[in-house]
């Protein structure tokens, strides 16, 4: 049986405000899915819900890993079960070296039953593997000694996310705009890197606005999110079309969802102008 991450009829609210309203998405291991959609349509919220962000309230629907619901699992348990997310905006953890952070993380994910205080992967062994992965991603060794995302440029952060994915070797990975803020060459490198570190063995959900990240990770499916729902699913050609044409045609084809989108973003604008 292939391993599967299955999202059914997912409704998510933040502080009582509905954001996702009935998302369906099934990812098998070995598949690449692209998720596109205008800003504010709920893509990052979906990623957060998959990882179990404590602020997100699941009001309806399920998320299943190989047939088992993971809704009751905390974020750490999901990570240890092989679910990963590369953040659109990674957090800095000052004072904690990348290498130390990752050694602990890697041990926990590879030995999911490890209890706090139990041994970590031996330092030597870990360093060696980390160095190899960093070389593969053309990252300077000095990176490992820097504090997690502290003072990193946008590009460095995104590459650090890919490095973490490479070390943790997840079964399923959500990459949330791993290409945004990167220049053309950097996106190329990222795209190539994802493929090189074994993207093909994972089930990947790539959230993006462009098609460049997809160059080396050609999507089997492309989904479009609008107003908190996936409104269309197609192949690789849909990703190209959205990139070149934008979302107006999608909005025209799905007037009801476009109306919800409008409402969601207008509330935001009101809040923004009210606060100003």
């Amino acid at each position: 049986m292939t391993e599967t991450l299955k999202i059914s009829n997912l409704h998510v609210a933040v502080e009582g405000k509905p954001i996702l309203s009935g998302v369906n998405l099934t990812i098998h291991r070995g598949e690449v899915h692209a998720l596109m959609g205008p800003n504010g349509s709920g893509k990052s919220t979906l990623a957060g819900a998959i990882m179990g962000h404590p602020k997100l309230e699941i009001t309806e629907g399920t998320i299943e890993l190989d047939g088992r619901s993971i809704l009751e699992w905390d974020t750490s348990e999901r990570a240890r079960a092989g679910v990963f997310m590369a953040f659109q905006r990674p957090m800095a953890i000052p004072g904690v070296k990348m290498a130390d952070f990752l050694r602990h993380a890697t041990t926990n994910v590879r030995y999911p039953s490890r209890k706090e205080g139990e041994q970590l992967i031996p330092m030597r062994e870990f360093r060696k593997e980390l160095r190899e992965k960093m070389a593969q991603l053309r990252m300077d060794e000095e990176f490992a000694r820097r504090y997690v995302n502290d003072g990193f440029s946008g590009g460095e952060m995104k590459r650090a996310e890919i490095l973490q994915m490479a070390m943790l070797r997840p079964k399923f990975a959500v990459l949330d705009e791993t290409d945004s803020g990167l220049d053309v060459d950097a996106v190329k490198l990222a795209s190539q890197s994802i493929a090189e570190i074994g993207g093909a063995e994972m089930g990947i959900l790539i959230i993006t606005h462009h098609d460049r990240l997809l160059e080396h990770n050609v999507p089997d499916f492309t989904h479009v999110m609008l107003g908190g729902r996936i409104v269309e699913t197609g192949g690789v050609e849909l990703a190209r079309e959205l990139y070149t044409e934008g979302y107006d045609q999608v909005r025209a084809r799905h007037p009801e969802d476009a109306a919800i989108e409008k409402e969601m973003t207008s509330i935001e604008k009101k809040v923004a102008s009210g606060a100003a």
């Binding site: 990882m51 905390d74 750490s76 953040f87 004072g95 990752l102 993380a105």
Partner: protein
Amino acid sequence: MSTAIASTGFSQEAFDAFLTTRDEPGWLIDMRRNAWRRFEELPMPSVRDEEWMRTDIRLFKLDRFGLPHSSPLDASPAHATEPHGVLAAGVEVGGRSTTLDGRLVVGELATKWAKQGVLFGSLDRMAAEHGDLLRPYFQRHVVDPFRDKFSALNAAGWSGGTLLYVPKGVRIEDPFHSLSVLGDGGIDFGKILVILDRDAEATVLTEVASLSANGGGLHCGSMELIVERGAGLRYVSLQNWGDEVWHFAHQKAHVASEGRLQWTIGALGSRLSKVNQHIAMTGPDAEVQVNGVMFTEGRQHLSYNTHQHHQAAYCKSDLLYKAALQDHSRTVWRGMIKVEKDAQRTDAYQRNDNLMLSRDARADSIPGLEIEADDVRCTHGSTSGRVDEQQLFYAMTRGYSRREAVRMIVTGFFQQVFDRITIEGVRNALSEAIGRRVRDIKEAVA
């Protein structure tokens, strides 16, 4: 465990009796008498005094304690094990001194430094034996004996304590280690005096602790660091008193022109601490760095007044205090940068960051600037907050349990201070001491 100090309170008779146990020069006895008079005149500080507004000591009963009774040079009651401390573990030291309830247990100075005129050991003995040399330093009153009741009490009744004197141009790599231990219910009126004459260099590691982690007692101390022209001092003090100890201390440094001082404090223990840490840059081009690390729990109250006093031009001072607070504990930091009119081109910085690990903990952070010169750069900042939920989420997506994530984030929070400490052994010892507290973190609050 109880110790054999007979308390005779703080009466005139007790003070006279105390003086008869002292074998020291007349000028020093006179200093003590003056301070004693002041001690008797001064009221106990109260919350009506601005400096004590946030630090209530009504539960502190001075008369439960008394002046040191027997001669400090008497042998201490025998102890099964000699306490060692943590700062100098496995380190080659230039000298070491250990006191118990203010009385000397161990005092050693490496011969090669003794030969160069270095003095190190019990201040009691040094004052008796080297009175002429020490007199001008004593009479500088680096810590003002009349400042408050506690400074007066220490000036009148100090006993035990430690001296380091390094003559002109002598540069010492190996650190000096001094440890003061308090038995349960004991008193420690230690005075620490460090003198680096011109162009001298030294490192001093001091630590204080109780025999038992929940021990009580009273420490009323003073610390005077004199860094003469071109000298360089690295000074570390780790406070690890038992949970019931009352800790009152005045600590002050004079840094002369081109002098350098790196002063690191770690504060983990005591029931209540009220510490004044004062640095005066008395000549141009002095450079001072202050590092502070605090970790409180239970109902501890730690209050620090820091004062960066720029008296001359072209000096630089940089202070960073970080505290993590658990349970119902409380910290107070009041920082003052004072720049005198002549202290042009001052570069001064102060910062205090507090990490709240409990909803019931409280940190007061009160930076202050008083600037009379017009060409200066003075900046300050302070933050207080809980462990960031987004950071926790991020770490948990990498497989960290919530508690592991909290501990890692707290460790990182302190690492930023440790990074400034240039003595590797101290960095490790402090992070180990903090690490022990971090491992005890019960639960993080959101």
